[in-house]
Amino acid sequence: MPKQIYDVIVIGTGAGGGMASKTLTEAGLKVCALNAGRRLVPTKDFRNHRMPWDMKFRGFGDPDKQAQSYGFMDSEWVEGVWEHEIPFTMAPGTTWMWPRCFAVGGKTNFWGRSSARFGEIDFRAATLDGYDVDWPLTYEEIAPYYSRVERMIGVASTVQNRPSNPDGEYLPPFNLRCIDHILHSGAQKIGVPYLPDRIAQLTKDHEGSPACHYCGACTTGCDTGSFFSTPWRFLPKAEATRNLDLRTDALAKNVLVDENGVANGVAYIDRKTRQEVEVHGRAVVVAASCIETARIMLNSKSRHWPHGIANSSGQLGRNLCDHLYGESANGYLPQLLGQPSFPDNVGDNQVAWMPRWQNLQNPREEKFIRGYSVYPGGGCTEYPWYAVQTEGFGSSYKREVKRRYPTPVNFTIQAPSLRSDTNYVDLDPEAKDPYGIPLARIHFQWDENVLKMWEHSKQVCAELIRAAGGVFENSADEPAIPGWSLHETGTCRMGNDPKHFVTNRFGQTHDVPNLYACDASVFLNCTDKTTTISILAFTLRTCDQVIEKFRRGDHQRV
């Protein structure tokens, strides 16, 4: 059999890889997509419509296996979907939680769906406050790509005219619930924004996908494709072109190079046969998600690239940033005590947001630089978590749990860490995965600036609850441990100077002209916004470049 050569090898099928596979195959390029896990079958793997009493452990999971679970999303509802075979290590002093989904579609199967655009205030942050460097592009350059993405995937929101949050093209927003109206009135009193979130969830039928049915179980997958995920929305389109060869259980090991050090393929492990396989192409797109992308590239050592491919700057794996998450405040709204229950959990509680309001006019107004956003939640949830904290037993207790059911509220902060030389990923010099590939080793600490945001948010959110007529109860003692947000960025940052940046402003590596990174690894930092819609927009822009280079002959068609 003659050796098949593809135009492009794409590693990963999540937001970046899925967008790349769709865009490149629709342009007529032959693509081989490698995915480290299996395909999911929504009717089998997404048990999102299963009631807790239809599950062995009522959705709480097997207690003896809790220690091996990543918690939260890695639940009984999606058993066997999150990755447990490939471990990672942490440098002394680092704690890091790293839930990964290696199934086709990656984390887009279960993501939080919040979809705010980055803005000029993010791209020019360094000019404004003097920390780090600006992004190598302007908002005007990326804005049309955000619009294209929003039209493709469908994002529900409103035009909000906020300086840190450029508006886009939106489907009708989610309706506000009782708790939203009450909290909104409190937010107005203390002068902070409280608005409908930007949610990649369909409030109308869109591009052949049905509107949401508001069951509220999004975090365990959607069996109608009513929120954006690549297996529902992009990969079928890519496969329909007949230009896509999607290989599953294909764990990328390293990028292969020719005698000139230029990328010409990828070596991967077939996890079923445990054999190493090589696949060849004229260009390679690495979209394995921030840390995994760094691991693959650092492991791509050759005569030309002794420290990892495209790493002449020494910056590959460096500049790891993450969102600090944590419960800034919780409490309850006495206005709703004893009221009838209300379906508050329709969008998995992802209905409203409090977009960044700090340091907007004056970048040094607060004790910290930059800013954070907050996600409010609460009301009648699937399980009454407050009940364990409610004192007592007997009929009075049972009645109190019922009375409190519509009232709980909570606030989750999303705050960006600052770039630091001490936060990075490298390859563990000793530990290897079951296939002999060196493990990613994570070095990470929260910085002072982000911890100041955390303290600030605790005060503001407690104040908001009180201003809304509510009762403030607690703030978490500590923020969630790093990695929990799944929003890590950096490791292949983009910039104009090849000495200091791994990729250029199009996500193409400075060192290797046919090697691209299409995930949050190219971002300079994580801003106060979530990463997925920006991964989609930046990948679309990168793919336009790739297609243009094939058209011009910079990359040779097969």
Partner: protein, 203 residues
Amino acid sequence: MAGQDLQRREILRIMGMAGVAAHFPGFATWAFAHTHPASGPEQIKPAQYKPQFFSDREYALVERLTELIIPSDGTPGAREAGVAEFVDFMVAHDRSQQYKLRTGLTWLNAHAEQTLGGPFPALTQEQQIALLEPLAYKAKHRPGEEDGRQFFRAIRELTVMGFYSSQIGYKELDNPALRYYAESPACPHTGDPEHKHLAPAKW
């Protein structure tokens, strides 16, 4: 539009059932209220469920505690919801809790003997409640009962988990989870954004 929504819901229902049928091994032995006659708890024979962790005697005590924690009063409680089965099943799969719960049950009986002259099951309901109150309420805590409090916290948490994740618990709260809607539900209290003038509380 309405027709489409109906169709979509029907598809969802069938998909949901197929998923359950294909992958859920089933809990035929788990007693839920809807399978029992409504006339009263005494008709439920403990023998219907064979405990996996607790002895029969321990299990009877666990069952009694769950119904004291979430009683059958105006609405069904822990007994009708089969919470003791859930507690036993979870503890059977939770090595970290087994010692605490087993010794806790022993402590409770010994404590009952010491203070009220008989094992816990032999006490009247009032005596049982009086024994549990110092374990449950901070204001009533007594020195020397730390182990008892820790045990009660554990059994109470399991009871709460088991009850509010059961079909009966969902009914108790009128839990709206996993229902389907044609539009995202909107607050019905137009004109009262601060919710200061709601109809009087129902409970």
